[in-house]
Symmetry: C5
Subunit: 359 residues, 5 copies
């Protein structure tokens, strides 16, 4: 199963991007054309949730004391995004980052707003695959804009909390919303690593007790996937550390313990990822040793059988020669004597092998 | 034995936690329901030790100049913990950390109180297993609150010292108690590493003198356990370094040499852990070499026997052919001559092999 | 194919350089003699592009408010370069760096001008090779001077943008041009890594499904190339970080987000390069395991055939002996009985091997 | 020989220490009971050297302008040490460190005095073993106290210099004495590494020219010893760096070049240790390759003999069949023809093998 | 050839040094007794070059505005060096460093003068060996003193430039001379690495196309040499970085770009050295794989021959049995039928092996 999956590309193609001037807002992701823009606008007492057709509808929410979350999902029209960017005063490079989905996770403070680019991971139960998609989060005064590659994200729980008014999310500002989205991404990584952990444990079981060539292919597949996940998640630490350092005026001091907590969770993800990596590397070594051990057993079997019978066959061949003058051939007790000698040789060898611990 | 033990999960399940708002006080550990709260309240002259039924009983001790240690053991009622947290002014994230037992070790200074989350290790003599459980320690003005997953801890010696008034513990404040608990955790790690060291030494003995496939499985098991222990203990260094830096007003300057000592012990634990890891890695290499060497001996045996007898068998086969016109068959001295030639070939080969050092 | 390519030298010969006083302007590269100097001089409204024969023609552009890009391509006369250097007040070491093409990438701030030495990479489609050449970029007040080893560079897109007036390049100063050239170099590395990624993926396919000795040679070739590419690209991070730190007055503050973006791309290149390296290292391990697995299959085949037939052949040899007194030879049912015994032995062994999972 | 030596414990037992309050002055080392206290008291003109029975005798020397070196050797009475500690105002943790010989090397500045804990190494010529013992050095105003586990140290040269008045030791203060002791420890490590270097070189000789299974055991033994030595010596760098930083008022500025020199020697020890480690790791790889090469030679031998004779034996078997209707058996030139064919086959195979470079 | 060279000692013997007081000026190098002192004294217009017999002759040059270079070559009389040291006010430790040739490269600023200890490397064309010798350089006001172990250095080009007045050396001060000597050392390392690169490339050729056991020994030799070179050169980075930081008043600010250039070259040497190391490590892996691949070919050959003929030989043996009642033996078409069956079995096996890709 596993080995038939389509391999994730080692280096994503950026062909459309090459040669363009920096800051060109061109879509480089491979997403489909069914983009949506969903807006949440809330304060402790009111909540508006709407699916906007025209990006201009979003602008009605700006300038109010409420918190606005503009959730851009999938491949929305490039012009609409440029209009949005212009309205909120975003730098062209920010929009480029949002649309070019092969970014390295990063955190950029533009003064008026804070940009974060992240990878969001989801374990796809049906295929047993890890799905990675890029998320851009922009925190401004009273608003958060999020861009994601396609539907199927880890934000549903945040949306439910906004809708249901659970926890403190409705009482707090855009910075808390921003934090909640980050926290959801980090929790998503945990869930994904938990699944990976299970896959690795079942592989480990196989490696130790009944390895076969398919095991090796699966090991290779899982290690390779791990390398790409690592590349996607590793820079998260830096990103969260930079937000935590808390130099942006957009983050109120009340957020400090939450950000510290978020940072600890990020470290834990990275620890877990590294431990899984070490376990996988150790498993490969163990696999090789187990396979080697089995081969050795097989070789010993061959050695024992061959080493015992080769001399006996030689003796049989000896008395199968057709010389006329072989007096032994006529002695009446010669045959039983030869049989006895053969048994003696075989027995002696077995005793010797047992002594040498080869049996 | 060893290989039948239940494997520790690579990544702990946090299923109940996903999707909850940050700061939700939900029990995620797998502990049973037999929680207890034990309170120690002492000054140089007096000592009260009691098992509280209702968490409210603890509050009688607060506000007094004595040192109070509230020792929450195992799965205590979540509401009781919330009441406790409220009384002592603890942040919801602190309570979440205490109940969610899959935290990374960390140190958080909340100004009024200091929170430490740690892993405590105990060598379980009966199963030959290392037991890890999470401990949260909270140091406030005049009180220490500790949360632990279940009974069976490394604090018994501290309790005995409080009861018996040995050492300086009764003369000193809550910071010294806090330090004593940390010191007990670090000492517990030492004891655990000492046991691991013994296990590794006995494995080493096996590897060098009589390796078998079970050795490999045990090696794998011990390495894997080491990885998980490493993940649990490694962050301890940072935690102790942060306390030692001594920026919290809760730590009096008199504690400085003790904290320096604690830090040195932590470094020593980490050095020891790393040395054990290196020894294990070197052992795997040695194991492979030893197994390889033995296999080579076996192969050489086969080679010698086969290479000597194959030509002899051919000669025997030659004179077993039934051609009518084979004049040698009739020569009277042919048989002894052939036997002599065979002995000569075998002898020559043995000399050649000795010369080549293959024998 | 791949394995016949001319290997890149591990350490470039600097023979001509040894023993010369520091700052000697001597050409050490191996380029041909067909050098050109191309000048671009532009402001938002005007553009002059010319191929200069005499280096003195360039000086007409200096002192004007336009941006001048002097593009020295290939092996231009050493004296012309010294004249150029004198006119723009460049330190002899800068000219030495430009001509000696075995420099380590570096960034040097001389106050009046900023010098960067870089490696530019291009994937040569026809040979499937990565071409690396050195570029020196000098940013002064209102001018950029670039030196490159030979034609065939990654700057064509920048030249087209200057010609066509796309993007902001014509609106902005020499610092933006300087940045654009750097950006083009970084984009070139991305394109090259993308090709390398494809090569590695196709090798991976081979390794897992049908490895042969040529695969190993190709793996070795690709790893070795990777080491040299790594050596050329790795110092880029430092260089870009130093420019980003932005202490040079030649970089206006408007460039900050661009430089931050450039830095992120540089980190991403390095991440990608490291991931490819890890993938290659893992592939070698997998290759060895796959080859080992196949060998084991072959060995098992031999073992099964040999171990089954060796005893049978012995039995046949036994009854081929010519003793006169072998009563079995005369029993009428002896032959079928021996055949049956042989079938029984073979069958028993097969069952035993199946049980042992050797078949 | 080597492999029969008693193995050094991986983790030292600290059993007696567990559960005691911090600062408990309990002897944890395994030393015998024949401790001595030797006092050196000197100024440029006078020298007193005496073996004290009662620790109180030492106190006569304090308060004078001379330099006093109290050299506590081996297991001296715990009470005596407590009296000594009290007289010189030492913190209980310092005494604990001195008696508990499983400390990590460290440097602690207590203001009035400076404590250093180190490992001292000595090459034991008779056993070919490295002996490690802990030394605590305490530098106060005008005195140095040293604690060591047992006799046999690297300080004899320092004692001789004090006695003979060579060098500057008698002209200078306690800080120079303290430095001289440290320098003697570092020189002792050099001597030990020199011996280890010789052992490793002779092993290397064995590995390359005549490896046997004992070589592997010796390699393993030497690597393991290296790991424990590394653990003991590595922290020395930090310790010396901390002293060199020179913030203690006890170190006069005149000592600066000496401390810088000491630091360089420490770095050199660590470089040497790391080089030896790399050499050992490379040797294991080489060992495996050499053993592998030899095995391959043996296998080729078997292959050649078996592959040549197996077809010939088959042919011989063919004409040994007893069919009545085998017309060849009666042809007079059949036997020589078969012999010729056999020689042809064998010759052809040898040519083929030579062509394939298998011979 | 290569494998017969005398191995460089892993740890140099410092026997004469142990136990001496720090600052003892004792010769520890193994150089012969043919030392010389050569003095260069120059200003832009005049040059004196002389070979001094008595060290006192040097002192005539001090106190003048000219630049004096005292070049102490080989084993000069220890007393002469002490006289020299005294005249120029050098600390005894500096003289100790100059004579004790087992120093770690270092840079020490004594205020009035700057001391550098380095390793100088030279490729010895005749032996194909890398020669390393220690150089001490002392820069004071208007003078440079250099100590080297023996003749045959990398300074000849500097001497020629002084004699010929090429470059700026005669126009500039002692700091430029000091820098020129350092630059010559760094250039010497480049030349040496270039030769090593060639050696490694020719080894690589051997490894990939025709590995033999001698290849392995050469690989081991080259790796080992690389480890010792690495130990000698690695600290150079720190040394040059410290000079570059430029806190010594002896270095004029005009030297800054030269020192920056020197630092870049040092980094490049270290990069190159590391790349060579990685290439060597990869070569060992490739060597093992290549040898393994060849062995596998040989094994397959054996397997094919043995697996095909073993069953055929068994059949031949079967009809060689001497049972009286074997009716097949009398059937006229039995012999051709058996031959046909044998051909069929052999053919079927070959087809099966081709199908399995074992042939």
């Amino acid at each position: 199963m596993t080995e038939k999956r389509k391999k994730r590309k080692l280096v994503s193609s950026r062909a459309k991007r090459h040669g363009l001037p920096p800051g060109s807002v061109v879509r480089v992701s491979g997403g489909g054309q069914d983009g949506r823009i969903v807006v949440f606008d809330y304060d402790p007492d009111n909540l508006t949730e709407c699916d906007v057709e025209d990006v201009g509808e979003c602008f009605a929410f700006s300038g109010k004391p409420t918190v606005t979350w503009i959730n851009v999902i999938g491949a929305v029209d490039v012009e609409a995004i440029q209009v949005l960017g212009k309205h909120y005063g975003l730098h062209p490079l920010v929009l480029e980052d949002a649309l070019n989905t092969y970014q390295r996770p990063k955190c950029e403070d533009y003064g008026d707003y804070l940009e974060i680019v992240l990878k969001m991971s989801r374990w796809d139960e049906s295929s047993g695959e890890v799905g990675l998609q890029q998320v851009s989060l922009i925190l401004g005064g009273g608003f958060v804009i999020s861009f994601q590659e396609h539907r199927g994200d880890v934000f549903e729980a945040v949306r439910d909390r906004i809708r249901g008014g659970q926890g403190r999310i409705r009482q707090m500002g855009a910075d808390y919303l921003f934090y909640s989205l980050l926290d959801a991404v980090v929790d998503g990584h945990f869930a994904m690593l938990e699944h990976r952990g299970n896959v690795i444990e079942s592989l480990e079981e196989q490696v130790v007790s009944r390895p076969d060539p398919g095991t090796l292919r699966r090991l290779h597949h899982v290690r390779r996937e791990g390398m790409l996940i690592r590349k996607a998640i590793w820079p998260l630490r830096e990103v969260v550390a930079e937000i935590r350092r808390g130099e942006s005026a957009l983050m109120t001091s009340e957020m400090r313990p939450y950000l510290a907590d978020l940072y600890d969770h990020t470290l834990q993800i990275i620890d877990t990822m590294e431990t899984l990596r070490d376990v996988l590397a150790a498993m490969l070594e163990t696999y090789l040793s187990v396979v080697n051990n089995r081969m050795n057993e097989v070789m010993k079997m061959l050695m024992v059988v061959a080493t015992i019978f080769i001399p006996l066959t030689f003796i049989a061949g000896l008395y199968g020669m057709n010389f006329e003058h072989m007096p032994e051939l006529r002695w009446p007790w010669a045959y039983p004597a030869v049989l006895a000698a053969m048994a003696g040789i075989a027995g002696g060898m077995i005793v010797y092998f047992k002594h040498k611990k080869w049996l």
